[in-house]
Symmetry: D3
Subunit: 274 residues, 6 copies
């Protein structure tokens, strides 16, 4: 929530700077207006509240009216929201509000297209930390609105032991054991493994989650079979939409894909002022 307020403030400052020299000089303070925010293509909505906060930050008197909620499917041509109040504020906040809305709805829409492919399967699709700097909290929210789930928020709310950690410690067993003593009992430990020997070590160390990194589908099947419910199994690596259903059928619990956030195109949303 603070993260959101901070990025909104930063976005407004970078756009308006010392002043909107066009609007400040041409539009009288007292002029009122109404803006129609329009979906120019079909999309999954995410960021409605953030877009509102942009306008409210500039002027707490701005009013909003929308029949939709984040996560809703919106068809092309639909009015997403009406925004009413000072015309000056509408003009000054428009671009920043849309920049948030287009990007977050872009992610939700992109994510939904993945989810559709696997919604009948008992597997969970999650994002990664490959998010846009400064927008982590918002982009992970958009992922949820798209129907997928979140991996850890950052380096502070989940343990992921990678090869460099293992090398520095002297083994998976010692790494897991050391961490158990140091972290909160509410945080799980995940270990990234690249072969069956490491799978065995992670199991022996009682890792809560085992991440299979860049393995082939047959290797994944073997790993799932060996782990056999004793740990949550995640696959990671260059997950594409094409491979998604096959991966989902291997019996893994979780598939993580950076592409959910890092390469989602913006959707086209515009604002028309009446």
């Amino acid at each position: 929530m603070h993260a959101i307020k901070d990025i909104i403030e930063m976005a407004i400052r970078e756009d308006i700077g010392p002043g909107d020299i066009t609007t400040d000089n041409l539009i009288p303070d007292e002029n009122q207006g109404k803006g129609i925010i329009l979906a120019k293509e079909s999309l999954i909505l995410a960021g409605l509240r953030v877009a509102q906060q942009v306008f409210s930050y500039l002027d707490p008197e701005i009013r909003f009216d929308s029949p939709y909620r984040d996560g809703d499917e919106i068809s092309a041509g639909t009015t997403i929201m009406e925004v009413s109040g000072s015309l000056k504020t509408l003009l000054k906040g428009e671009r920043t509000a849309l920049n948030f809305l287009q990007r977050l709805s872009g992610i939700a829409t992109h994510v939904r297209s993945y989810i559709t492919l696997i919604k009948d399967l008992p597997v969970r699709l999650v994002d990664t930390r490959k998010t846009t700097p400064g927008l982590r909290t918002l982009e992970k929210y958009a992922v949820r609105m798209g129907g997928a789930s979140n991996h850890r928020m950052g380096l502070y709310d989940g343990v992921l032991i990678k090869d460099n950690h293992i090398a520095a410690c002297g083994g998976i067993g010692i790494a897991v054991h050391t961490l158990r003593g140091m972290i909160s009992h509410l945080v799980k430990i995940e270990v990234e493994v690249s072969d069956m020997v490491q799978v065995q070590e992670a199991l022996a160390a009682k890792a809560d989650v085992i991440m299979l990194d860049n393995m082939t589908v047959p290797q994944i099947r073997e790993a799932v079979s060996r782990i056999n419910g004793k740990a949550i199994v995640e696959v990671s690596g260059m997950v594409t939409k094409k491979d998604l259903r096959e991966l989902a059928g291997t019996g893994v619990d979780i598939i993580s894909a950076g592409a959910l956030t890092h390469s989602a195109p913006s959707v086209d949303i515009s604002m028309r002022i009446l």
Copy 2:
């Protein structure tokens, strides 16, 4: 420059929060390491210095070695940069540094693919304000590294009179005249027009730049012919790669395209620690 420092700090805070609970508990302070930043696909580089600033923010002792500069074309498999110093810092800064580098190089690469199509023509391709909130300065820099140019940075360093401004003032002539008296003589005035009547009014008002909004190619040709060098001519609207060369051949001076920034996919760059 402050914008850059601020977004780097925000990005690190959102990723590390109260601490990297894996690395802080497993890697001894004194361990040193070297990281190799690798291009996993061919790309135009942008953000090298920003990636360095991420590590330097965490630890001023980190050293960098790279034969490349932003704007360079890098082929798949190339080592972009070596990063040396405290292993802890390398692990903590890796994701944030890559998130910047992948996004900015993604934009530069995307822009370059547009530029290639029109580089023999006397026209300028420029970005818009459709940038990621908080990353305006950096994304506009990446656009330049890709070979295109920048439109105004924000609402403060250029005038763009749109239909709502015109309606509120009572006409293009009055809007331009009012602004001339209020703004710095170093800032130009651009007027967005949608038909020939408005083109004529903008010319009469001595607008410095005339933006043809969502006109057809024949309309654009006619407008260029009417304006005849008395103002800079910009076309805007849903510019796609497919239309780009045709638009560029109409004789306009400037083509602006939001797609340069808002829908550029990230390029794949990874870091391997030795």
Copy 3:
């Protein structure tokens, strides 16, 4: 606008610090009061809204009543504004609100005395970047309220090529050409010149604005004649009130004077609490 909020907050913090030990200990929370803000000398008003924001920052319930607007001429003894609400807030905000109002009205008043001398001539008087650190946006606003215009706001919204830039590049022509390719098409390029050879080079390079630096009146006349409308002409240097009319008669378009801001005395404004 953010610049204004930031400086108001900084000003209040530096004055009140951990608390107003007199008022906090003597005035009951519930006491109400009304303050009369009085012009003790004749002045041009600037900063009314800022003064209000100081009180509103401390307490959003404070009410204001004033028949005046910034830019108005106020005679000595006039009540500029009434401020009503919590007596505590009136006492705590008084000095900071007045410090803004006295300084900004001081600038507007000072500027108006220059403008009066040349208002019949087709020349524009502008400020410089010689403003008080932290008050740039406000002081440039006060200049406009006084009737003059603004030069660029900072180093980011206008190009001014000086001798050091020219020396580093190898000439005026190359400097202007390089910049045309790098900056937004909405930003003009100004070149500072000190003799006729440089005037000629700047014209050849198609500079938008030529600044004649510390030239004599005959030299200025000659330069204006040579430039002959092909660029905007600005004169700069130690412009005094005494020389102003003579300079304005040379045919230049713009006269810039640091003295508008850097040496304007405050006007005397006080607040009396009823």
Copy 4:
């Protein structure tokens, strides 16, 4: 000290914003330069360290060389300081550094001209809280460099009971007594009085300091004689240079004058880059 860092950062941000578009595009990173900071008129120096901090904030490698210290008298034409390092930094920091130096030296010079008039008399000249918003700490420092002393820094480090406080409490006696119990024993209590009855009440209340507000010279003499060393005596009100010596001869301990800060003209200091 934090106040100083904060205002320096704010000043640089307002001047450079997203970038110095002239210098960033024309001057190569590796170019070195040397700047000569010159007194264009005779002055009392104040702000040398602040000017250095502006450059150091931009680039910690900048080097400074000066034989002078704040408080020194500098004659016209003297080189105050040499600044060496990256040419880019010199050009970007120049204006902001000079804006601090011109204003602070302007205050010190102005203050010295007052001090000279009364330096043989046992009286102390002090400033007020009529300082430029955001520059309180620096301007009060400049006052000391000019040879005068400081009144309280803000509302937090000294008590000044005015008529409104007295009215709200029910009398001087009760106000002083209440405060004695609430504030630190290291902070003195000053009472503003406007006639002899109030002088008597303040004495009875054992005020540490009595401020005679807008009294005539004969009234001041009478008050000094009544107070007779039982409290420090301060005179305040529209103190002008013309009246200063007469006021100083009345036997008061302290004369406070807002004009020391609020109306000091900047002195002329420039930077020439070699």
Copy 5:
């Protein structure tokens, strides 16, 4: 006041971070609730307004109802305050609000237990700068609510000359004299002394306050007798509750005790949501 807003914001950020993952996911936005803040032991109340500000920071609509004021004695089992509004906000703000209230009331309660021992004696008990980092203003407020007084707030609002200062200057006389010329006439000068020779020097230098550091009771009595009202006398050092009354009987004016703040245990206060 800003100090308070800043620490409240910091406290909320450290507790909620990117979100309260339990409450945000389980409690509907529209659910309302009422919380009862209960004293689980008898205590002196301090921090009621701060606790309110925590909730108000999260949601300005939260309402409060309490018959008590800071400084009141509250018996075990009493409802201190009712808090009503969004259930989500109540749950998210609860811990932070209580953390402030428990600590500040803990200090007030602890202080009151000291004050009770000496309330019939003409001596003042004061705190020190041994406060929790970031909570100085609040903890010193709690000390006043407990019935004791404050020493200086920080290094900026009172002078305390210690042995290192004396050694660096060359003597108490010179130190006091130098400072008199440099500081505001509203700030007193205190000198820390450790024997009778220094007491004599401090008297000769006309120190306003003399602090007897770690002296025995007979030494203190002798010092009080020597000083004989010519300066305020403070004793400092390891003041314990056991010694308090004896010290208070020596005739000193002020006793300072770090234990008032640095070792006050929290009192038990909880919130029950209906």
Copy 6:
């Protein structure tokens, strides 16, 4: 880490404010000194690095020398660290550095006294969120230095379902199920229960951790036996040192105690400057 930098900055600002008027006016810039930080009682060290950061924040040239590390047991009279450099910096940073060190070592020492009582038992003692506002990260670090472990850092890195959450959802089962779908798979779910029916429901819902709230020792034993390793068992409530060993003997996995942080007295540490 940022949390630490922020609180250090806040602590220094609140102590020094606009300046240390004693030291700034008496100690020459060039004076060097050495400070000895002394344990005045036996203690467990915590905060050595933070104390160093306080001095380094003021002056990066300060040097430190210490044979100890946080977590070490230090006996009374021991020199903990030597601090060398500018005498001014030593005097200005002393109190703030000690305030951190005394409080954090106070917590570590207090925690160690609990740990000693149960170190032979297979149970984990953890802290709570009852920490000092602004010091959460540091106090939880001190708890680890004392030998205990941390519960979640805040509301963002662990789920704790309490009675209000259960009531709002309609049952433990539904609450756990809803959360599983919303949160990262690296975060565990804890449910607070107050009787055996709820224990059964939490088990049925597959809660990862079950917190027994304010149960008697026999009830705890029964719950442990029912849970029988199917979830981690935590006891909470008014845990005192007296009950600790008995609670630890019940077979629970985790005992949480707010008293570890909220009521730890500071230890006595001073600095002597040579």
